[in-house]
């Protein structure tokens, strides 16, 4: 590697949290104008590394250093890093939705007239120019809140450019993007490359690694386990470095014998969200609900779970017609629901692992009217082992767990309920390949132990891999039902694509 081309070098960085060594002696080199993938299991330390680089965290005392553009640097906050050209684009976008696009781009650095007032003309011109540069069709005067998520991401990129970025870091940027939006993002990343800006790209989606990156850096348990050139490697090479073994059975086909009908939905409608949704799931069956983001799948699932009320339509559970008015009722009837946004909908972050696992089951673990904490502890121990959740202990707050382990906590919560119907909405979003395989195995196991399972996913290989039957949705309507045998990627794509 030509040393002169190195824009960013990380040497022997360590970072310790109370009870966790998140990074130990990590090294990283980024060349000018390249896209470097950083991959690793949940909790491997990817986000921690990036936050340490960009001044959100301090590295451990005396643990090596960061060299940016030939100079040793140490940032005490993200702003310093930004000024030096190292820009981290957070997963939760950091834009102000009530301000205009142009203001957001130049936030903290708004051009002023001689009198010290804001120079709106110049501001909009400058922003317009950057937009034109990126070939983006966004009006600088538009309020950011009026833009879609992907367009907001573009605004972030524009801002990075306006600040003279040398390295832009994306931490799982595509988790809330549609396929088409992802393409726009990639186009922009390529533009960054052309401008000789380097990109660090964190993802769990291996196809993206091959699509967009030049090199791959693999982390495991806070350590480097490999540095590869993307064009020269296979998926297996990467996953092996990530999880320390070969991932042989990525998808688990469910072998369960199908039983009676557990869920039947007929003509379920909600104005503006979905219309005339009908399908059914049998005991032991895994049904996939596939569509683009915004197709209305979550809304259907949330309606079945009682979190929303339909305008019309009928629902049967185990052959009995029900009208589910609340999530509480749904849980009593025997429905479990792993929601798509685990931080907002799945977990009480300031509560412990133990308390989160027992959250849905509380009314059933009473002893003489009081909460039976012994049972609660047993539940925790049981599912910690069953799902191999890695956490320092029952009292660890879930906010400190990695994404994958957080997701397992949510799944544990529902498995402990032994529901008749388990709904999983994007269960592997932000989950590493290893845990993904485990979750797939869990889904199959759940079906085999007699649950009916509904899985929502935006990943085609996953949905084909885990489902016995697939229901395709587009703009709130069912556009096709496929059995495992007849489904192909093309037919599925056709069913969900916008015409």
């Amino acid at each position: 590697m030509n040393e002169e081309q190195i824009i960013l070098e990380v040497k022997n960085i360590s970072k310790t949290f109370p009870g966790v060594k998140a990074l130990s002696n990590v090294n990283l080199k980024v060349r000018k104008g390249e896209v470097l993938a950083v991959v690793g299991e949940n909790g491997a330390g990817k986000s921690t590394l990036m936050k340490t680089l960009s001044g959100v965290f301090y590295p451990d005392h005396g643990s090596g250093g960061i060299i940016l553009d030939g100079k040793t640097v140490s940032f005490s906050n993200p702003l310093e890093a930004k000024k030096a050209g190292l820009i981290l684009i957070f997963q939760e976008l950091s834009l102000v939705s009530e301000l205009s696009v142009a203001e957001n781009i130049y936030l903290g650095n708004l051009p002023r007239t001689k009198r010290g007032l804001i120079d709106w003309r110049r501001l909009n011109e400058m922003a317009g120019k950057i937009m034109a540069d990126l070939e983006l069709d966004i009006d600088p005067r538009e309020l950011v809140g009026n833009l879609s998520i992907s367009r907001q991401q573009m605004v972030e990129i524009a801002r990075a450019l306006s600040m003279g970025a040398k390295v832009v870091i994306f931490d799982e940027p595509t988790s809330s993007l549609t396929e088409a939006e992802k393409e726009i993002l990639f186009m922009n990343i390529r533009k960054l490359k052309e401008k000789k800006v380097s990109v660090i790209y964190i993802t769990h989606k291996m196809d993206e690694v091959f699509q967009i990156t030049d090199r791959v850096e693999v982390l495991r348990d806070g350590q480097n386990t490999g540095s590869l050139v993307t064009a020269e490697v296979q998926l297996e090479d990467i996953t092996k470095l990530m999880i320390g073994r070969i991932l042989d059975d990525y998808f688990h086909k469910n072998q369960a014998v199908k039983g009676k009908e557990v869920l039947k939905v007929e003509n379920l409608s909600k104005a503006g969200l979905f219309e005339n949704i009908s399908f059914s799931i049998r005991k032991g069956e895994v049904v996939g609900l596939y569509g683009l983001v915004g197709a209305g799948r979550s809304e259907v699932a949330e309606t079945i779970f009682g979190a929303r009320q339909p305008d019309s339509g009928r629902v049967w559970i185990n052959g009995k017609e029900v009208s589910i008015r609340s999530t509480e009722q749904a849980v009593k009837i025997g429905i479990g629901f792993v929601p798509e946004d685990r931080k907002e909908q799945g977990l009480v972050l300031k509560m412990s692992c133990k308390e989160n696992i027992s959250l849905a089951k509380l009314p059933w673990i009473k002893n003489r009217g009081f909460l039976d904490t012994a049972v609660e502890m047993e539940m925790y121990e049981e599912y910690k082992d069953k799902l191999s959740i890695s956490t320092p202990g029952a009292y660890q707050k879930v906010v400190n767990l990695s994404g994958g382990n957080q997701q397992k906590i949510v799944i544990a919560k529902w498995l402990s309920m032994t529901p008749d119907l388990l709904i999983l909405d994007e269960p592997t979003r932000g989950i590493d390949v290893g845990s993904k395989a485990e979750i797939h195995k869990l889904i199959a196991k759940a079906a085999e132990s007699g649950y009916a399972v509904l899985v929502i996913s935006s990943e085609m290989p996953e949905i084909i891999g885990v489902s016995d039957r697939i229901i395709a949705m587009r703009s709130g309507r069912v556009t096709g039902v496929f059995t495992d045998a007849e489904v192909t990627e093309t037919t599925l794509l056709k069913a969900i694509a916008h015409v």
Partner: protein, 322 residues
């Protein structure tokens, strides 16, 4: 695991030290400055003086754990006092007390419905309710004082004035309410669900918890204990004044905040709330004992509130300033 439990406990203690330190410092200060402060009689006096605020604080703690405020407790105290006093002679003490409790719960239900189910901002809603309740009180009494025709002929006065084994009855009521609320919070399903809802409403809903109902129940609990507070107050003074509870809301909230209940919800401790209320009560008692001008206690409350909360936060983050 053992280790992490110990560590957690140690950390937890360090965080809460601020309140305990402030409390002890005040006790030391007052007992040096006044030789009657630490006498049995005065301690009992202070306990009795804070009993009404303490009872109401239990409900307020629940409300704040749920992530809300209840500014209506002051005027609700006035209303329930008026109700119990004005009905006492007409329907007898027990039915009058029941009606007062029902009125408290009714008001709590209304607040709970608007805030829990319709998800309206609790601060403004309970502010509006404060006015409505005050108006209802005035319309009900026609602006007159209510009182008992024959205060000496009823056992009702025992509630606010009686003693059991040398302990004032209001203090016993306070202790019972504190224990019940603490047990509910720490040992029951509802308590856990409340902490969950305060921590994350949406996630609680998606765990099959009826978050709307939980929030509503916190306000009903607040209305209920405010009703109890109103009864004790009525019995203490054997009369009712239309504005007697004015400003209680701020005293109670101050105490609960001193007790370390997080204003963002999801955390709280009934015993600490009581300790906070005790500080508020001690100030009034101590300042009169020391002969300080009455209103200096407000300034002291300001300083103590800021210092205690600051110490708490600073010890949590390990730095004085962020």
């Amino acid at each position: 695991m053992q280790l992490s439990v110990i560590k957690k406990k140690a950390l937890g203690f360090a965080e809460k030290q601020g309140l305990v330190i402030a409390f002890l410092l005040l006790v030391i200060f007052f007992s040096i400055a006044s030789d009657v402060f630490l006498t049995y009689g005065n301690i009992i006096l202070v306990l009795r003086q804070v009993s009404i605020l303490g009872i109401i604080a239990c409900g307020m703690t629940f409300v704040i754990i749920g992530g809300n405020f209840d500014l209506s407790v002051g005027s609700l105290t006035s209303l329930t006092t008026v109700v119990v006093i004005s009905l006492h002679d007409k329907i007898g003490p027990i039915p009058a007390m029941i009606v007062a409790l029902l009125v408290g719960m009714l008001s709590g239900t209304l607040a709970g419905y608007l805030i829990g189910y319709l998800k309206l901002n609790s601060m403004i809603i309970t502010l509006g309710l404060l006015g409505v309740i005050q108006a209802v009180t005035l319309i009900y009494t026609g602006g007159k004082y209510s009182r008992l025709t024959d205060p000496d002929e009823t056992w009702f006065g025992f509630i606010g004035r009686g003693f059991v084994l040398g302990i004032p009855f209001p203090v016993i009521i306070l202790a019972v309410v504190i224990i019940i609320f603490a047990v509910i919070l720490m040992k029951t399903v509802f308590g856990r669900q409340l902490l969950a809802v305060g921590g994350n409403q949406v996630a609680s809903k998606f765990s099959g918890i009826k978050e709307t109902r939980i929030i509503m129940l916190t306000f009903i609990a607040s209305g209920l204990v405010t009703g109890i507070g109103g009864i004790v107050l009525g019995s203490r003074i054997m009369a009712a004044q239309n504005y007697i509870g004015e400003g209680y809301e701020f005293q109670v909230i101050t105490g609960v905040i001193l007790g370390g209940t997080s204003l963002t919800g999801g955390e709280g401790n009934i015993f600490k709330s009581f300790l906070g209320i005790l500080i508020v009560g001690m100030l009034m008692n101590g300042f009169i004992l020391l002969g300080f001008p009455y209103y200096t206690q407000w300034v002291a409350q300001w300083v103590i509130l800021v210092v205690v909360v600051w110490i708490d936060i600073a010890s949590k983050r390990g730095k004085v300033l962020a």
